[in-house]
């Protein structure tokens, strides 16, 4: 395993994405990407007793579908890497209990999926694992009750608020075979530019995304020209504008048509999602559906996928702390 610069792994033995699956909730299933998702939930409760169990069931089903697509059983995959937004990542760990696989629980807020890809790829490239299932999920109803208000409370959201996606994405990484290759991964630094509005996560995360993209370009001596698409996780429409401004201010070339944000792509503006989609499941499902399928069908050759998280908790917000952000990035290349 080699490294370039301060933050970037170069995977000497690039793992391949042998299979991937995405599941989206009803609102997400009415959005512009509806046709790309592998499954759309008819019941956001998935027949469970609570929203948390519903999210966990969504993770389990997505993981199971991914394994089925690769023709593997849970017992033959070396590890599950993933997380969600619930306290102590219960949705993922409860799913891991049912799957019975060795488990690496991760928390990077909405960056978790890309964090899992970067780490899973490192463990496979180094020979520690032969295969790894990387997943992340979020559910609107679990996030609302944990971070905001009860669902039936009559409140208004400000225009900068994002909408937590009910969605899950899962990718199976293997040491060899056919599929999209993960060639490099860049770790993020925790960046805080003193944004304290817990509704404005796009603003809190944009500086972290900029920092990671800049680190990736600097470490690998690449520019935006080397990529067909640069995908960000869930900055939303406002956060994407802020990232463009940050790149412009720093002299980092970022063509307007190459920068795509998953959160800004998940809903139509008329769907009342305000600033766009967020949540671990946003970048996970959109990249497993829309981005990876477009690489596989030859439309895209090389994509830089980044995911960003706002590392706040209700406690830190109530104590008046500002919102630190983090972002990870991985380079995906057609096999």
């Amino acid at each position: 395993m080699s490294r370039m610069g301060r933050q970037t792994f170069i995977y000497d033995n690039p793992p391949v994405i042998a299979a991937h699956r995405s599941v989206a909730g009803r609102k997400e299933g009415e959005g512009p990407l509806a046709d790309w998702f592998d499954a759309i939930l008819e019941d956001d409760l998935l027949g469970q007793k609570s929203w948390e169990l519903a999210e966990s069931e969504m993770v389990r089903r997505t993981a199971r579908d991914t394994l089925d697509a690769a023709g593997l059983s849970a017992g033959s995959v070396d590890a599950l890497l993933g997380g969600d937004l619930n306290n102590q990542i219960i949705a993922t760990s409860f799913a891991a209990k049912k799957l019975g696989m060795p488990f690496i629980g991760l928390y990077g807020a909405c960056s978790t999926f890309v964090e899992a890809l970067a780490l899973g790829a490192a463990l496979i490239s180094a020979g520690n694992l032969d295969s790894a299932l990387c997943c992340a999920s979020s559910h609107f109803c679990t996030a609302e009750r944990q971070f905001r208000f009860p669902l039936e409370l009559g409140t208004q959201r400000p225009p900068q608020a994002s909408w937590t996606a009910t969605a899950c994405g899962c990718a199976l990484l293997r040491s060899g075979g056919e599929g999209i290759r993960i060639t490099s991964g860049t770790l993020g630094r925790v960046i805080d530019l003193n944004i304290s509005d817990a509704n404005h996560m796009g603003a809190a995360m944009a500086p972290a995304v900029f920092d990671t993209l800049a680190a990736h370009m600097e470490d690998t001596r690449r520019t935006a020209d080397d990529y067909d698409l640069i995908v960000t996780g869930d900055l939303g429409w406002i956060g994407r504008d802020l990232l463009m401004e940050l790149c412009h201010g720093a002299g980092l070339t970022m063509p307007e048509d190459k920068l795509v944000d998953c959160g800004a792509s998940l809903y139509y503006r008329e769907q009342d999602a305000h600033a766009g989609g967020s949540g671990c499941g946003c970048v996970a499902s959109v990249s497993c559906a829309w981005i990876m399928k477009r690489i596989e069908n030859g439309e895209l050759n090389r994509v830089l996928l980044s995911g960003s998280g706002a590392m706040l908790s209700p406690t830190s917000s109530q104590q008046g702390q500002t919102i630190p952000g983090i972002a990870y990035a991985v380079a995906l290349e057609r096999g």
């Binding site: 039936e152 409370l153 009559g154 003193n194 940050l246 980092l252």
Partner: protein, 152 residues
């Protein structure tokens, strides 16, 4: 290439410039008419109570009870959150909004059980209103008790 193109202060300004503001005038108009409509409804209930000859003490309590019943019922039917999304403070400030703020956590946290769920979380939103409402009424009472000799 600079890794920190913006200072926190400059970034804050950029965020303020890029972020659209809430549509205040539209919000005021909606809050005004919905809040006014709820209060007018309350007035009609009060007039009805007068016809029923419930008495000076029971009449206002009857009005409040009916409004709380309506707010709670509309919360249970999944309607009040939509009214609140439209009207904002117009439906949050009247007593129906107070009922909504108690009924919503009651519904949300029933899965955590009767004691640690509904019991413990029932007043998570209404709690501050109760605490400071009662505290301020005690304070006003004490002030009244001290100055009433001069007033009368």
């Amino acid at each position: 290439m600079s890794r920190q193109p913006y200072t926190a202060a400059r970034y804050r300004q950029l965020v303020a410039d890029v972020t659209p503001s809430s549509r205040m005038l539209r919000g005021y108009v909606r809050a005004f008419w919905v809040g006014g409509a709820i209060c007018t409804l309350g007035q009609f209930i009060s007039l009805w109570a007068e016809k029923l000859n419930l008495g000076e003490i029971t009449n206002p309590m009857f009005t409040t009870s009916v409004l709380i019943f309506l707010g709670t019922t509309l919360t249970g039917l999944g309607v009040y959150d939509r009214i609140g999304k439209y009207a904002g403070a117009g439906s949050a400030i009247p007593v129906t909004g107070f009922a909504n703020s108690v009924a919503a956590p009651a519904i949300e946290f029933q899965r955590e059980g009767a004691v640690t769920g509904v019991g413990a979380r029932l007043f998570t939103l209404a709690g501050p209103v109760l605490a400071y409402g009662i505290a301020s009424s005690v304070l006003v009472g004490v002030i009244y008790w001290i100055v009433r000799g001069w007033l009368l």
